[in-house]
């Protein structure tokens, strides 16, 4: 098996894109001091709405727009309770993840008439870059959202370090009271990033259901939102590191896929991303532990 072939790299990128988009949203929330572990539910919800809207309108791009809009609305269910009312963000997020699971499965049956997996020849998926004239290896079979995701890493890095609102956002996350004391509208920033994270999860969902594949199946987010949460934990507030963390996951998934092709059971492929993500988390924490050792002595 040759790992270093174009198709493997393409597979890595495909696996990375939805996680990266969701994780960018999570990173923004972390920068502004909002604990957002509702990425999983938002990702699933975005994937579902993308398919429904694309199916209804026949346009994948309308599907993407619908997913973004609907997931922004969904994320308001987090920002309202957790930012405005200061409810426990963990509990709210656990509820929202469950809500997304139930809502998508329920509406799927109501709209498409059956559960499980929905796909149809009429369902429009996102075009490949190859079809759009970008006929280069690795990117040829990716959706346009893949380069968008990569571009957003740079955009976010620029925003956070070079602009006034980016500076203020970082300030809010570092010291809430201090931000208030210098006259920043703290909750405005926190609502803002939670909703932007919703939009990014909408994109992530659309990429998953209209880019990576062209179908919706129940629970198809399959833990990617949680892996995005871990990627954020690993990378702090640095978009560059976030890209690396998400690529690590992409490699794990693509590698697992290969293993399956090589005859290993599917369960090993399923487990690979989680095991690798957990291992990365543990290694990073061990490295960080040196600094914390005094408190736990």
């Amino acid at each position: 098996m040759n790992v270093f072939e174009w198709s493997f790299l393409a597979g890595v990128l495909t696996a990375t894109a939805p996680v990266l988009l969701a994780a960018l949203g999570g990173l923004l929330c972390q920068v502004a001091g909002v604990f957002n572990i509702a990425l999983e539910g938002q990702l699933l919800w975005g994937a579902f709405v993308a398919v429904v809207v694309s199916d209804l309108t026949g346009s994948a791009w309308t599907g993407v727009a619908g997913a973004v809009a609907a997931t922004v609305v969904f994320s308001a269910l987090l920002s309202g309770p957790a930012v405005a009312l200061r409810a426990d963000p963990i509990v709210v997020a656990v509820g929202l993840n469950l809500l997304a699971l139930g809502l998508t499965a329920f509406l799927m049956r109501q709209i498409f008439g059956s559960g499980g997996t929905y796909s149809s020849p009429e369902l429009a998926g996102l075009p490949d870059l190859g079809e759009l004239g970008l006929d280069v290896p690795v990117l040829r079979e990716q959706s346009p959202l893949v380069p968008v995701a990569l571009l957003l890493v740079a955009v976010l890095a620029f925003w956070l370090t070079r602009t006034r609102s980016g500076l203020r956002l970082r300030a809010v996350g570092q010291h809430l009271d201090a931000a208030q004391a210098v006259g920043l509208r703290v909750s405005g920033y926190q609502h803002g990033v939670t909703l932007v994270a919703g939009a990014l999860c909408g994109l992530a969902g659309a990429q998953l259901s209209l880019g990576n594949v062209t179908l919706f199946s129940e629970g198809m987010s399959a833990g990617r939102g949680w892996i995005a949460v871990v990627a954020v934990m690993l990378s702090g507030v640095y978009p560059g590191r976030l890209l690396l963390a998400c690529l690590l996951f992409g490699v794990a998934e693509a590698f697992g896929f290969r293993l399956q092709g090589a005859g290993l059971p599917q369960q090993a492929a399923d487990a690979a991303p989680y095991v690798i993500t957990l291992a990365a988390l543990v290694l990073a924490a061990v490295a960080r532990r040196r600094r914390r050792s005094y408190e736990h002595a």
Binding site: V91, L98, L103
Partner: protein, 343 residues
């Protein structure tokens, strides 16, 4: 306090408001998508308690209560155990393996798989403890990440080494008769799992409120630094709480496998969503452990009733997941509103 005052307190209590609010919102969802609540709700009630369904509901109450303990016990120590599915599957597959592979005398043939299941669940869960107390990785993330491979492993075992030969179905062969949980009074669904889990719940409630360990677990959950300062070995207490939670989950898995249809069927443990029904129930009880069995009963009722609703009124049973999700969100909001209200 007068009777009306008591009634008022019950009606205005967080669980009641949360359930009412969630049902109201769910009714709105029904109306939006064109489901007639006047058909759906009676179907739900029938599905849960009438036409011989009550027995089935009570049977589903057992693993849900077990999973509620699996979430509630670590939560008292401040650790979120969201990895119930993995612990449940590990317990189930271990119990099945022991029952199938180890020849045991009657009695031990039931007890040993149950113990093995509990131990397996506890082991899966306890991995999260040092990650949390020593490395600062939140249990909410690590339990989830560990859960997925555990489910995959169970799935692999039941498809290959433990699979029933020549059927192509992902399930173990039927367990030997000696390993079947004794039925309760000739019932088709109910086993001694019910009194067992009830006794364990009572034991937990007693331990939580009236033992040294319970006190130290609660102190750890309320303020870890305070507990550490007071001489509580918080790392060990957190590990114990997580292991205990995992053991309840593993035991629940074992109870399912040793009950009808007496085999491990891939996905049968995790598909009904016991884990998150239990999470919703525990959060609904809002830090009052005594209420947990009641909230579990209520949500099991909704869960099982939902299946009846699907059969009878054609309303997808996933509606009950929506109710659960909304309940959790509303509980969180009520908690913060209550904390703000000046006393």
């Amino acid at each position: 306090m007068s009777a009306p005052a008591v009634a008022h307190r019950v009606v205005a209590s967080a669980p009641v408001v949360a359930v009412a609010g969630a049902l109201l919102l769910t009714t709105l969802v029904m109306l939006v998508v064109g489901v007639d609540p006047a058909l759906a709700y009676p179907a739900l009630v029938r599905g849960a308690v009438l036409d011989g369904n009550l027995e089935y509901t009570v049977a589903a109450f057992v693993p849900t209560l077990g999973m509620a303990l699996a979430f509630a016990l670590p939560l008292r120590a401040g650790e979120f155990n969201l990895g119930g599915d993995g612990q449940l599957a590990a317990g189930g597959v271990t119990a099945a393996a022991v029952a199938l592979l180890v020849p045991l005398p009657p009695g031990a043939a039931v007890v040993l798989p149950l113990i093995a299941g509990a131990v397996a669940g506890g082991l899966v869960a306890v991995v999260a403890a040092p990650l949390s107390t020593r490395l600062g990785i939140p249990a909410i993330v690590s339990t989830l990440l560990i859960s997925a491979p555990a489910v995959s492993l169970a799935s692999y075992l039941v498809r290959f080494p433990l699979a029933e030969p020549n059927t192509g179905i992902a399930q173990t062969p039927p367990l030997p008769d000696a390993a079947h949980l004794p039925a309760l009074g000739g019932s088709g669904y109910l086993t001694i799992g019910l009194p067992l889990i009830a006794a364990l719940t009572a034991l937990w409630l007693y331990a939580d409120g009236r033992t040294v360990l319970g006190y130290e677990i609660r102190a750890t959950g309320q303020n870890r630094e305070f507990a550490r300062y007071g001489g509580v070995r918080v790392g060990r207490v957190a590990a114990l709480a997580l292991a205990g939670g995992g053991a309840f989950a593993g035991l629940s898995g074992a109870l399912i496998v040793l009950g009808p249809p007496h085999r491990f069927v891939d996905g049968a443990l995790t598909a009904p969503g016991y884990t998150f029904t239990a999470v919703a129930a525990v959060l609904l009880a809002s830090a009052r452990p005594v209420v947990v069995p009641l909230t579990v009963a209520l949500l099991t009722f909704l869960q099982v009733g939902g299946q009846g609703m699907e059969r009878e009124a054609g309303v997808p049973s996933q509606l009950t997941q929506i109710v659960q999700g909304l309940i959790i969100v509303i509980v969180a909001v009520l908690a913060t509103l209550r904390a703000r209200r000046p006393r």
